[in-house]
Symmetry: D2
Subunit: 353 residues, 4 copies
């Protein structure tokens, strides 16, 4: 169960970074939704390594194969299994790391948990696991589109550089996926600098869902905030989540942050589209803190399995900033979460919204 997300739209991923394949089973897709393999592939291509100069050069084609649940390009209402073969897993790169716990990585905690570990990479902790999420997210997007809900996102901070604009259509036009063309160039420079230093840099992702009707989510344990928080913090390398005004609201007063509703719409959106855990009809707005990638070429101190210390430099084909590739994953998780909330609301009310 620890590899599943959702209760009615259940997304279960499988696969190690250096095993034969990664994939996903999506159980709960309503029947009769148009499923275009090309749309799924397009999302996977956005997540794929090697898509630009600022991402990892691991050469995975990431071709998706749909194994079930789709007939004549429409969902059957049954589980949709999708598979992507691992083709460029250079396990040899990892031989030197067999007995060392890489700093910042899950090597140590993973070993303590399972008692054993496939040392040829991050296993399930690898970002490669997110392939299945992105494929599942494409299904969720297709279904949500039938009720007018769409999800966009981008990188809004890299290092100290912050986006000043939210031109979402611009985000896909630059390799950083920044919705501010000018900031994008600065961000790219920061990333290239980090790479030259054999180091990495962090950033912030923003994801927005538009068209979400009021009424999705629940008032207590399954608040939409909580589900989105879990969704985002289940993505590798994320260490923070904000909904709407987030941490910035702490220094403000209630009279400033109470969103005024004029009977038709909200004049501000400090709530990030969610009041009392339930969508209120405004844009659902989430920001995610992405830590600097832990795989760096710079020499670092590390402990060995035998309890000694050593110095390692993690060679290989790593991302100096993973924000651009986290964007499609965060969007997918947003879509998956909303999909689940939508289906719950259908169960509660017995109607489409």
């Amino acid at each position: 169960m620890s590899s599943s997300f959702g209760r009615l739209f259940v997304v279960t991923t499988f696969g190690e970074s250096h095993g034969p394949a990664v994939g996903v089973v999506v159980d709960g897709m309503p029947p009769g939704i148009k499923v275009e393999p090309a749309a799924i592939q397009r999302e996977l291509d956005r997540r794929r390594p090697g898509q630009s100069a600022i991402t990892s050069q691991r050469a995975e084609a990431d071709r998706v194969e749909i194994l079930s649940g789709v007939f004549e390009d429409a969902s059957l209402g049954t589980p949709i299994a999708m598979l992507v073969r691992n083709t460029d897993a250079r396990s040899k790169d990892y031989d030197a790391l067999k007995d060392v716990f890489r700093p910042g990585h899950a090597d140590y905690s993973y070993t303590q948990k399972y008692g054993l570990r496939d040392h040829r990479g991050g296993g399930r902790s690898s970002g490669r696991e997110t392939v299945g999420r992105v494929a599942a997210g494409a299904l969720a997007r297709a279904a949500l589109a039938t009720v007018g809900v769409s999800v966009v996102g981008g990188t809004v901070q890299v290092g100290d550089v912050k986006a000043a604009r939210r031109d979402w259509e611009v985000a896909e036009e630059n390799p950083v996926r920044c919705p501010d063309a000018m900031a994008a160039r600065e961000m790219a420079a920061v990333i290239m600098h980090a790479r030259d230093q054999k180091d990495s840099v962090g950033g912030v992702i923003e994801v927005v869902a538009r068209g979400v009707p009021a009424g999705w989510g629940d008032p207590t344990m399954a608040k939409l905030d909580a589900l989105l928080g879990a969704a985002m913090l289940s993505i590798p390398a994320t260490k923070g989540v904000e909904i709407g005004g987030g941490f910035g609201m702490c220094a403000l007063s209630g009279s400033q942050t109470n969103d005024v509703f004029d009977g038709k719409r909200f004049l501000t959106n400090f709530a990030g589209g969610i009041a009392g855990g339930i969508s209120n009809g405004a844009d659902v707005l989430v920001r995610v803190a992405v830590r600097p990638a832990t795989s760096i070429g710079k020499p670092q101190k590390a402990a060995t399995k035998k309890g000694r210390t050593t110095t390692i430099a993690i060679e290989g084909r790593h991302d100096p900033c993973i924000c651009p590739r986290v964007v499609p994953v965060a969007e997918a998780m947003m879509a998956i979460t909303l999909m689940d909330a939508w289906l719950r609301q259908r169960a509660l009310r017995g109607r489409d919204k």
Copy 2:
């Protein structure tokens, strides 16, 4: 299911703010754990309104009654149901609000969700629902203590005032629950000022779990970060969560934020005690953004059910800053989350840790 949290240590709350009672059923408590009613009551008293000058003056005794699952002060391994009667629910206070959607509240989203609403208060959206969480958290604490795990917490920011120290034992000695005695006084002043303005102010809570062994949590969908994120963002009025270095890491580099492990311990804790979703043996560290309370006496514009606008001032006995009362709730949710992760690890490995 939307009122339950956890998979092996399942906490299900029930009760409206203005109904007969609030309570909780905890399913999954291992047998043979000492359960002291006084310890549960002590935690409820920390959450109770009216405990100091800076909290709501609603006079709820919040006496807990244990209905099942405990025999001769020990857990039986069966569901533990606990009940707290509502005694000071002044429903009359809310009659004027019957047809108005209070700004910042869940009134509108709640009505859209359910199609109807008990207008005599927040219903399930009320902070009163957290009574059950705190009682459940006391059970989780008791169980975790048997393996040396404890949870502490406090208010580390109110408005612009930040705590400079983390003297957790100091936190319970001041009404703000701030682990920095000096900052506590400034924070109290900020809160009193907000109250005088018939306004409210936000803040930040920090919660720390000590003694968590390496190996709890899962590498993908059930990352300990994700579960804690859901736990914290399911608390009313929270709009952000950070694990360890959180958003602050975004502007740093990997060589700065990779926690170095010397074979025995981590020299830094940017990961907040969780690497790849799995505890690494360091303190588990979470910060939570608490928005300014939405119930304020200051006049605000609001929409009526009929789509008109009006001006309302929410009289009543509200908290100008809810941070001090959120602290025990956030601690409880941390304990509940860890409890669940612990039991999963027992299932996986078949041994106590």
Copy 3:
């Protein structure tokens, strides 16, 4: 989680037979359903001990208190908690049994599971736990009635005596709850004879749901057959379940047991209203094997905790045949199961049926 049933209509019971109370939390009741306390009480009265000469004489009033989720006699869409106090738990009766494992009872397996046990009765294994199920079932019935679904049931076999008719309206008119008035008298005689022998006798319950539209249930793991099987076999003292033709079909051929559909209705009902796990519009028909009650006054050999053998006679106020009291429980579990299947179908299709 082990005390919960259902995924969307989640019924969680709590309470030991000799603790302060038994009860239930129902999470997932749609909003706006009329909830009449009298209707709930009526069902509890059907399950109550002491209702006739052939049932246990334990004198429990079993008065239900609704703690949450209902406002002005309508469901709020939030968890409905219901409580029944234990008032006539004569714990003293059990002192002699403290160190003996009663034959047929769960005393031994329970002790092995938990390592400890409240010896003052069956604890959670007691039939008293079903109070919560019956209360939850009354809610499910009320909701199902809004779409024309109703549930009836009765005792169709006691010892060797089988009912030849299914006059369901007759079932409530005799203490055996048998839908065949003539057989009812014979059954009562068999039960009285068993009681005179300080022994007990088994039987078979039949439960029928009418008006279930085609399409509820799922084709694989969550077949409606499977859910009903779990529902029925979760009732104490049940050791068998049949759907439709059940075991009787094994000796027949496919050409005999394939229900012919004429485009409007099924001419036979060997499938028990469920084809491929999904309701087909015919009556949903389930039979349940109820073993002879394990508490008997006749002297039996038994093992003590210390591994010796002894002879015991279980005095007290026990049922010589529990079928009449299992009927309302089985009906409740049928209603709860269908409720869950209905809500899933609403989630899948986004409409009421």
Copy 4:
């Protein structure tokens, strides 16, 4: 979620009978268990069509591919995905059936549920879905073997012929999988006769788990009886389940059916190894009613999608009696269910049993 079974050992199947593949994801396998592909293949071969003269002649090699969760022949503790390609799906056979609801099949209920249907076979309702269950069961068996638990089973009734012996080692030596060599021959004759008549015949399967320690299962909703009931009734074509004495106990008295425990073992096993929902250390014993296969060559009346009636004869390669092929599936579901119960008990007690 409707395609998943279990809570801690979660088995999720996917795949349509006439899609590209069928398969399974098993989440919750403990790490370090030896996983031999040959052992998995052996179980699949027992389920495979074409294995003898009395089974369907569909020629599926059913070669399993392990996609994840296994490294150097040991489980990693992560999800194990397994895949079997469909190679001999003769979709053409089904063209004539596109507009007809086959009697006894799920065609009608399925169409009502989903609003659409892949007419090229049973889709998810097909017995082909059980490939994934059998593969998952092989994993469960491997894990259970480490604590001395094993599962055997066989066909104990076909038509009117009942097995008089339970020589389980004999069961695999005859095509009927009957534990009574003499009865096996009679059963085979009954099956061949049904095939000659273009008809089918039902039967009863018995499955036994040996070595289950006392303490697995739960006292209320998750009784081991209930979980096994769901497991068995989720298998296609099953319409009844008995635990231990089952329906046969109804005509007996408590003094006959209370299993006497002498401090070491039970002298009888009417409880089927489960008392109060919890294993008691005796063999866990389940019987399953298997209806006559619904696909028969004999002409039958059937309804068309347009509401008319017609006569059809289902040509193709069908099983005249599916009992022999249900045996490995029922065994797999028993193993999966026990695996889940075992892991829950580990979570509850923090130790291996």
